[in-house]
Symmetry: none
Subunit: 305 residues, 2 copies
């Protein structure tokens, strides 16, 4: 079986025309190099050097072999170098899980931050929703993610809360924004809610349902849409009100529903943003970088926990 070590010994010997000097250069004893060359010759089935009194002389087979050996070692170096630059985040792909709303808080800026520090890198923000992201985490397709969690569930996962995001009531009707909205008002409101597909596992919805149940009401929504932008736009047209994360509201209202406003709930409700990864996993430098940057961004916008 050919080995890279044999090739190294071969090239040193070829250059120096001497096993002794090759061994010196490589820091081995002379018989060790001798043995490597012997094994290489055996595995190739061709003598590579003629042993003459003073030193060794490469055969024509060695002449032919040399450029190939150099190419193999060069490719090997290149392979190591490629991985080393991954390690130092010079190139490669960083994959980070992020649910829908979080991208509003930092998505584009996060990518910008990463690219600014590591211009060669590719960035992927994966996941439409925190639940889906969680699934990918569990299956190992994602190393780390930032998601919204309703509680500290999911065993096997290490969840580190980094910020909380208040849930607020949004409406285009100023009369409904005069004071904090109660469960009763909420149950009577005409609501448009986003994230239809994930309605059962969306953490904001879970928190909301819990609050309503405790007050003895059932959640009812008039309209179901998939993305929060659409929901906010509908609010802007006065067709319904909605409840969503305050951070998202602050960002979207001026653009999509300038005539609408927001007010807290009573009692106040919060969505928790957390960094999640498999318990016990050693995080890669890429993951650690993303955690740091994402945390900074989120905490600059929301209330740190």
């Amino acid at each position: 079986m050919l080995s890279l070590h044999q090739l190294t010994c071969f090239l040193a010997t070829y250059e120096h025309r001497s096993l002794t000097r090759a061994a010196e250069e490589l820091g081995y004893a002379q018989p060790s190099v001798s043995e490597q060359i012997r094994n290489l010759e055996k595995s190739l089935g061709v003598p590579l050097f003629r042993r003459v009194g003073r030193g060794v002389i490469p055969t024509t087979a060695a002449d032919t072999f040399r450029p190939h050996a150099e190419k193999v070692l060069a490719a090997s170096d290149e392979a190591q170098r490629a991985v080393a630059s991954i390690k130092s985040l010079e190139t490669g792909t960083i994959r980070f899980g992020m649910f829908g709303v979080a991208r509003l808080y930092g998505g584009a800026g996060l990518v910008a931050d990463v690219l600014e520090r590591h211009p060669g890198v590719r960035v992927e923000l994966v996941g439409q929703h925190s639940r889906e992201v969680q699934e990918n985490l569990r299956r190992g397709r994602l190393e780390v993610a930032m998601i919204a969690v309703a509680g500290i569930e999911s065993e096997g996962m290490s969840i580190t809360p980094i910020a909380r995001d208040e849930l607020v009531y949004i409406s285009a009707d100023p009369s409904r924004l005069t004071s904090p909205v109660t469960a009763k008002q909420l149950s009577e409101a005409r609501l448009v809610m986003p994230e239809t597909t994930w309605r059962d596992s969306d953490s904001a919805r879970i928190v909301l349902r819990r609050m309503l149940h405790e007050a003895g009401y059932n959640p009812t929504t008039r309209i179901e849409v998939e993305d929060i932008e659409t929901a906010v736009e509908l609010v802007g047209r006065g067709l319904a009100d909605t409840v969503t994360n305050k951070g998202a509201a602050l960002q979207l209202l001026p653009r999509l529903a300038p005539n609408a406003g927001w007010v807290s709930l009573r009692p106040r409700l919060y969505d928790t943003m957390a960094i999640v990864h498999r318990t016990g996993a050693t995080l890669s430098p890429a993951a650690q970088l993303m955690i740091e940057l994402a945390t900074q961004r989120i905490q600059a916008i929301l209330e740190p926990v």
Copy 2:
């Protein structure tokens, strides 16, 4: 220290997304592959796979590493292949296809040339006739050959003309050699022709038949023999005339028919000598050597094309 074996294990694991299946493919126990991957990860300083319940999942570092690993192994294979073909020049057998007449031009000298450069080698000149040689080429029993071709036929074969050999009229009767022989004279002559067995596919005969047909004559031969030496000898005895390659005539006349002479045909006809091998084949050093030597020999005697 990086090793080729680690790369092999890595690629198998990467492809199968499973240590167990990689081990199966490579014929090892699963912990052995596991250990190789672990060592590779250690030496690269980067985790390559995330171990998740069912199988393993490559990290982005692994994605980056993979093409490099493949390149290293490819270079290694190439290195071994290169030496293997060198080896065949030093210990193996060089087999070269050559048709009957060509051996007159260089056969013995060619073998001498090869042995002088590669004393350890065995040389075989294969083939009685260009047609038979072509058959062996087609079946892959010969890598390369020098044959006479009537045209550029034979799909799948790469044909490189290297020289042309005039067909000349040979006679012991000086009166028939005073001027170039025409189709009419040819059709009226008493001819002895060699290569009886291959009469239909012999390129010299094909060229000759074509010329006669165009002039409205049918080829008729008085005597058919197998080898050209016999034919020339019969010409020397005045029993018949013949048409053969000029190169062969020049070589054989002094020895076998000193009283005979030759004259061109009108119009002049030529037999083409060409190097033939399977299209797309990578020629071994042995083959390249033979091509070079044979071409030199032939072109020293005949007119290069």
